[in-house]
Symmetry: C2
Subunit: 318 residues, 2 copies
């Protein structure tokens, strides 16, 4: 049922990618997702490039399935990582924050598939012209750095604008939200938040508790006001303080000082007060920690069950 151009392109069973979350997405999680029939991704973030090479090699030891690397194009490690993915024979890359044009030829020659993450129709079209193999259309409900258009508005407009396949990201964590994404025309999904709540995810246990404990309205966006990059995380003392500073008209440098290291404080130290627990709005729906394999088969078994039902039949007697 879920054979699409994405499963064909990547040679995977289920059209689902695990998002390339900095400080979170490393070899153990990525390999678990790939072993479960999806495609795991190691986040390049702003880590030293050789450290990412090590993670790639660890993942190779953990799975013989394809996996990917996320490269933040504005990060200082981008040039080096662009070479490493070729040297290590990585199956695919996802890219964010910039134009991967200058790496495209080398990647294509190495058989690497390129999936840029985009927040708008214009960028999707530009990426298709640059040679992308697929587009990840990411809604504002996603965790971390975000655009402003929501998944339900963005995905069908991107689908209409390009000929390459489109994956939906943002707000997807169960069979219903997955089925909705497919109805919008997506041929694949990228999920981040739901994988935070797995034993295979190597983040601090407090981070997982923050995600599992979040309600529907427990999401906060920083960086909206002072021209920084808008960023979504679970509401806490940190987001409250940053938002207050922003509203007070504080200088960019003052706010930046507070945000530096905040994601590390969440992922490594579990600092509930001062960490940035990046997660999507759908954290409200994620209420338990489950193994990656169970998460993936759960999503697709439920989506298969739901797709094809008529409105009102979805919830049995409900």
């Amino acid at each position: 049922m879920f054979q699409t151009r994405i499963t064909e392109l990547l040679g995977i069973r289920y059209p689902i990618l695990q998002g390339g979350m900095a400080w979170v997405a490393e070899s153990t999680l990525a390999a678990a997702v790939s072993n479960a029939g999806g495609l795991g991704i190691i986040a390049g973030g702003s880590a030293p490039a050789e450290l990412i090479r090590e993670e790639i090699r660890k993942a190779k030891a953990l799975t013989d399935k394809p996996f990917g690397v996320n490269i933040m194009l504005m990060s200082p490690n981008a040039d080096e990582l662009a070479k490493i993915v070729v040297e290590e024979g990585v199956a695919m890359v996802t890219t964010g924050a910039g134009n991967p044009g200058k790496y495209m030829e080398g990647w294509k020659a190495a058989g690497i598939k390129v999936f840029p993450v985009v927040p708008s129709v214009a960028l999707a079209k530009r990426m298709e012209r640059a040679g992308a193999d697929a587009i990840i259309a990411e809604g504002t409900e996603s965790g971390g750095h975000i655009g402003s258009t929501t998944t339900i508005c963005l995905v069908p407009q991107v689908v209409d604008a390009v000929n390459i396949p489109v994956l939906a990201a943002g707000g997807i964590a169960d069979g219903r939200t997955a089925a909705a994404a497919f109805m919008l025309g997506a041929e694949g999904l990228q999920c981040g938040t739901v994988f935070l709540a797995s034993p295979e995810c190597q983040i601090h246990s407090t981070y997982k508790e923050m995600v599992v404990g979040a309600k529907d309205t427990d999401s906060a966006v920083t960086g909206l006001i002072c021209g920084g990059a808008p960023c979504r995380q679970v509401k806490n003392r940190y987001t409250k303080k940053v938002n207050e500073l922003e509203r007070s008209g504080a200088k960019f440098e003052e706010i930046e000082e507070m945000t530096i290291g905040s994601l590390r404080r969440a992922a490594k130290e579990g600092d509930k007060e001062n960490g940035s627990f990046m997660a999507g709005q759908i954290a409200g729906m994620v209420c338990e920690i489950r193994p990656v394999g169970e998460i993936i088969t759960g999503i697709f078994d439920s989506a298969e069950d739901i797709l094809g039902r008529r409105p009102g039949e979805l919830l049995g007697g409900k």
Copy 2:
């Protein structure tokens, strides 16, 4: 195919409501939606209550189908409107901005169905306890005054939290987005933006041009910063000026002065520069002016065609 608890409750053919947009939703539009098999709504806004009574009577002359009235509970006309809907025998009311508890008994006794519009799970549960017949879960992609959670995140969580039927609002304008909403567990839809682009809608032609001309990223939210009510409209000089004022730390009163009358300037005067052209993010997908009947049958014919297809099959060869 589209028989749900909503079509049963309201005695209508298609489970679609037209949103109660102040300065926009009057008798001509509402009657057109009801005549086409949906349910039209007259917006109470903050208009003199007797003027709304006239609109109700006009709608009755234009259709023998049921229609509704939207009552903004914090508006000074709320008490009077609450009586008028009973006196005029209106089929249903939608409510916003507050708790309809004190009117509930009178409405129930008159057989009026009550559909509160809510932005969160907590409010949905409170409304169910207060006696609501259905919940309209409205995502942040909607036009006008908004909450912060997106449709794909909000709808399934509200569906899980209440036993009464749920309608999805925000981001719905075609068969794909409608099918997605049904997959999320909604038993009905409320659409606003797509009906702005109809000949039956009595707004200034410039307003329609603004909606039809908007791209995916041409949406702006005001009121996020200075504690006012967040409000979504098409990006223009007005939203730029309000956002600049907000960022500059201007006083609430100064900003309020700019916003007063801004919706009237859009709807009645077509003032492209100084009007607030309230519309949802999905305006980017609304590209032509079509009769209300065509809009509604288009949404449901396409949704019927799409529901039941498997991922990747949605777009034919694409």
